[in-house]
């Protein structure tokens, strides 16, 4: 790829996609076609630049962006044939960041968004005359319930999955692997926000888990206390992916975009540090002396979930349901191989910035306050 190549980006308003697009806008020169579905559909280019990419909408930047309203799950990406054909003539690279990252969707719905969309994009990619690279954003948790060392070079397994997000991403990767397009798969661990400011555009499961602790509703967390919880800063992940995408040569491989255990907290440390930071930042909360949740076995946790469900306690069902889909991974400790990062800057140590993430959540009341 060169800095002037024309790129098609999906999911550019998502948590990772917007940071990747922002990096591309500041570090490359080529035109960017942003395929938008729901979130960005109503936004003009200047508003998109200002509100989503946090950039001053200069005429040069506005000219570089082309908004394409489509639907990845439909034939021809939901585009008119002429536009579909035109893009196929001009696009040199694709970054497919659009996905549903909900863990609790029925498998059919997760497949529709994550697998079918990838299939449609692969069809499009085959039509592209000059396609140099197809980058798919995926998750290290396509490894599902596997334990131990997880190599970048392996995907197929029979260990099963913790949630439908993992399974649908696993199948999306398979779709790409079996194609003849020049793909690179970026498997991210868990994005947690900007390491310099704590800013996050989306309050995802780790943030919601923190909120549950703040509400004093955290009871049990299933998992192993020493299990590494790999959290990564959004801006670092985006910079790493963009660097790699623009500079790498070899296609047909996966790259683990992870912090690694040395720069991560264990499950027990995440809980300890969350309480420590919340206590420092919110003395009124500290005075309530909410206990830290107990780290429990899956069996104990499932019994608690069952009780909440049988009691039809909607609040606790919501709280435990959120934890259930996220934390089950902490019963399957993994060590992710990151050989293909190829000397990229290491991720910041979680201990150096986690406090800023907590502070941002508190300051914005988990997104309810601007």
């Amino acid at each position: 790829m060169t800095r002037g190549d024309s790129l098609l980006i999906t999911g550019s308003t998502g948590m990772a996609g917007r940071e990747i697009t922002r990096h591309l806008l500041t570090r490359s020169d080529g035109p960017l076609s942003l395929l938008l579905h729901d979130t960005g559909k109503a936004l003009s280019r200047p508003r998109l630049l200002r509100e989503v990419f946090r950039l001053e909408p200069t005429p040069a930047l506005i000219r570089r962006i082309r908004l394409v309203r489509g639907d990845l799950t439909k034939d021809h990406l939901g585009l008119p044939s002429s536009l579909y054909g035109e893009l196929a003539q001009t696009v040199d690279g694709i970054i497919h960041a659009a996905a549903t990252t909900r863990f609790d969707l029925p498998l059919a719905e997760a497949r529709r968004v994550n697998v079918l969309a990838t299939e449609q994009l692969v069809r499009f990619a085959r039509r592209c005359r000059n396609l140099a690279h197809f980058g798919l954003l995926s998750t290290v948790f396509v490894s599902g319930r596997r334990k131990g060392r997880i190599l970048e070079s392996e995907r197929a397994h029979t260990a099963g999955f913790v949630n439908t997000y993992e399974q649908s991403k696993y199948e999306a990767e398979a779709c790409l692997e079996s194609s003849d397009v020049p793909y690179v798969i970026y498997r991210l661990s868990t994005l947690v926000g900007d390491s310099r400011t704590g800013f996050t555009s989306h309050f995802t499961t780790p943030h919601q888990a923190l909120r549950v602790m703040h509400l004093g509703l955290a009871s049990l967390v299933p998992g192993l206390p020493a299990c590494s919880v790999d959290l990564i800063p959004t801006e670092w992940a985006a910079a790493t992916i963009v660097n790699h995408f623009l500079n790498q040569a070899a296609a047909g491989r996966a790259i683990h975009v992870v912090a690694g255990p040395a720069r991560s907290y264990s499950l027990a440390q995440v809980i300890d540090e969350s309480y420590e930071r919340l206590g420092e930042l919110d003395p009124a909360w500290k005075a309530r002396h909410y206990p830290k949740p107990a780290i429990a076995t899956q069996a104990a946790f499932q019994l608690l979930v069952r009780s909440a469900e049988q009691a039809r306690d909607s609040l606790m069902i919501g709280v435990l349901g959120m934890l259930r889909y996220f934390t089950e991974q902490f019963s399957y400790p993994k060590d992710f191989d990151a050989t293909n990062l190829n000397g990229a800057d290491p991720a910041p140590d979680i201990g150096d910035y986690y406090g800023r993430v907590v502070a941002y959540c508190l300051k914005t009341r988990w997104g309810r306050r601007a």
Binding site: L215, G216, L217, A218, S219, L220, A287, R288, H289, Y290, P291, K292, P293, A294, A296, T297, A299, A300, L303, L304, R306, S307, Q310, A311, D313, L315, M316, V319
Partner: protein
Amino acid sequence: MKRSKQVRSSVTFLSELGFAYGYVADEPDRFNELLVAAAEQAMADSGRPPAQIGTLFLYSGLNPHAPGSRDAGILERFRYPVAKLADQLELPHANAMALSQQGCSGLLSAINLAARMVEAGDQPAALCVAGDALPPNTNREIMYNVMSDAAAAVMVERGSPRNQIVSFHQLGQSAYWDSPQQERELIAAYFPMAQRAICAAVEQAGLRLSDIRWIVPSNVSLRSWTILAELLGIPASRIWSKNIARVGHTVCCDHVINLSDMSREGTLRRGDHLLLFTFGFGASWTSLILQH
């Protein structure tokens, strides 16, 4: 009970929680009789002459209210059940006093207090009596538990050869004082605090969890004990849970009823370490370790 709205949840759910039976007595209020009967039984079992009982503690967990209407004379408010009980038991030298507002932890706290008084003072024994009865036709389901009415009594004696107190540990969290408003927070806090309170009591006693022969439970839901056993890493079979279905939860009398039944069926052996644990509104998480 379901038909009379004394429980809210389905029978299936309550059965899964361990409350397989429900029995509602069709008798007039016999609460005072229950208290007297429990106290007399404890006195008879100990063989201690009434004159040697230096203190009578009466504990009730439900928030007390003075009988009579708002217009009743102020003297009505000094009509003390504990004095009446001392009179009925004919305790000539007992200093009679009531304790309250420790929820289900109350009787264990009273026993601990009595033991300290007996050890430190010049009285050889103190009698702890406890009991609660819910108003007729009231809801008996509280936070996944079904409540019974009961009374129980314990004679605390200096140098008793049975059930010596090895350690008492109570974790208090007064920030949870508003039970109705903080029901969810209390449910969430229950397990982590229970785990902490039990482990602290065991450590304070210089024991390990594996040294505890029996956990004598409060008769809250069996499922909650199964979860707690998982958290503690002990087999659920070490929790003597036979009375959960039969007796239900009685505010603060469960442990004494259970100990009595364990003794009667020959479960207890001399030297066994027993851990009595309960949660009390207020809130407190309380462990008492005894050596039988």
